[in-house]
Amino acid sequence: MKRWGKMWALMGLLLLNWVSNVSSLSVTVNDVECVYEYVLFEGDTVSGNFVVVDHDIFWSSDHPGIDFTVTSPGGNTVHNLRGTSGDKFEFKAPQSGMYKFCFHNPYSTPETVSFYIHVGHIPTENNLAKDEHLDPINVKIAELREALETVTAEQKYLKARDARHRHTNESTRKRVIGYTVGEYIVLALVSALQVLYIRSLFSKSVAYNRV
């Protein structure tokens, strides 16, 4: 038992400066996509954001949204968001273990979701063995790192939102060109057809006193 205690202490020291961090990854959600993240210490703040990047709305101006659920290792739902096209989340982990972050797409069109999950840990007295002291400078450095992480997380959120905005802009640009040129062609065709039709009404094969 004592050996295990020392091992956990060693791990604690090694992990004192290790903060779990995720790059802004994207997954395509067809129905349900789940991502797992391990939370080492109880009481860690799990924060993050997600944005639905690639969506093809034809008529409506509002995205129907996807559902986001976070399940704790004990099976409880820790966080739940419904029908959003992107949001930030933050919660304090009630227990350590494997957390499940699930995206559920209620519609048939596949969506691409860009997400970022960050598990932040600030060392406290509880994480160290009894004969170790908590260096206040390490706590301050951890707090500084956490503050910088919030800025980085915000930037990743902005980047994902910018990507989504860019998609919409590109789509608008294509639509403007495509639909206008199509409109001209259809207009010209319809008027040519009109003229042809009127001509056919006056053709020799049809007696024109019938008109």
Binding site: V27, C34, E37, N138, L148, T172, V176
Partner: protein
């Protein structure tokens, strides 16, 4: 697809392996560790939009199932232009590193090779680091002979520089998008005017043609 069974199964790691994994990961620079469940058929892909000239470092490990058997997976990483950056079949762990040559969407796809274990889902731990997170602080510490608090502060300085670079990137993206928006705005006005012009021109042509036609037919 994912139910409570997934959470229970993935939580039950053998503790010694978990500890080794943790120790191995803690010696690695600050990075990512997400777990994905690979179904027995089908591909799971993760992608990221990365700028040009960014270092990408990734590590993937398949977590053994309860009965000690390690399922094999295959990996394929492609660049936005379709170039194959990393391709491995039937492995249980591996890593890849590259510097991005082009800006765009980088895709890493995983699929399970263990078809015989019907219904078993492989759990893959993906450690994906880009940019500042992929920086090798160990070599910096050795080269400049710094350690402890100074190294931590150096890491924080790196993080602040990365934040600044990201801000500049976001600013340039916003400028690009503003250009596109303004072009589209100008085009909408132009095309609408032209549409009106074409409508009038076409109806004018119609009337002229029909008048000429009826005159030829001696009806008017």
């Amino acid at each position: 697809m994912a139910g409570n069974a997934d959470v229970r199964r993935t939580v039950m790691f053998p503790s010694f392996l978990f500890v080794t994994l943790l120790v191995a990961l803690s010696n690695a620079p600050v990075g990512d560790a997400i777990w994905l469940n690979l179904p027995s058929t089908g591909t799971k892909c993760v992608s990221e939009e990365i700028q040009n000239n960014v270092v990408v470092l990734a590590d993937y490990v398949v977590v053994p199932e309860d009965h000690g058997h390690i399922p094999a997976i295959s990996v394929k990483v492609t660049s936005p232009y379709g170039n194959n950056l990393h391709h491995m079949e039937n492995v249980t762990h591996g890593q890849f590193a590259f510097t991005t040559q082009e800006a765009g969407n980088y895709l890493a796809c995983f699929w399970s090779e263990s078809h015989t274990q019907g219904g078993g889902e492989a759990s893959v731990n993906i450690d994906w680091k880009t940019g500042i997170a992929a920086k090798d602080w160990e070599s910096v510490a050795r080269k400049e002979k710094i350690e402890g608090v100074e190294l931590e502060l150096r890491k924080l300085e790196g993080a602040v520089e990365a934040i600044h670079e990201n801000l500049l990137y976001l600013k340039s993206r916003e400028a690009e998008m503003r250009t596109v928006s303004e072009t589209t705005n100008g085009r909408v006005a132009w095309f609408s005017m032209m549409s009106l012009g074409i409508c009038i021109a076409v109806s004018g042509l119609q009337v002229w043609y029909l008048k000429r036609f009826f005159q030829k037919k001696k009806l008017i």
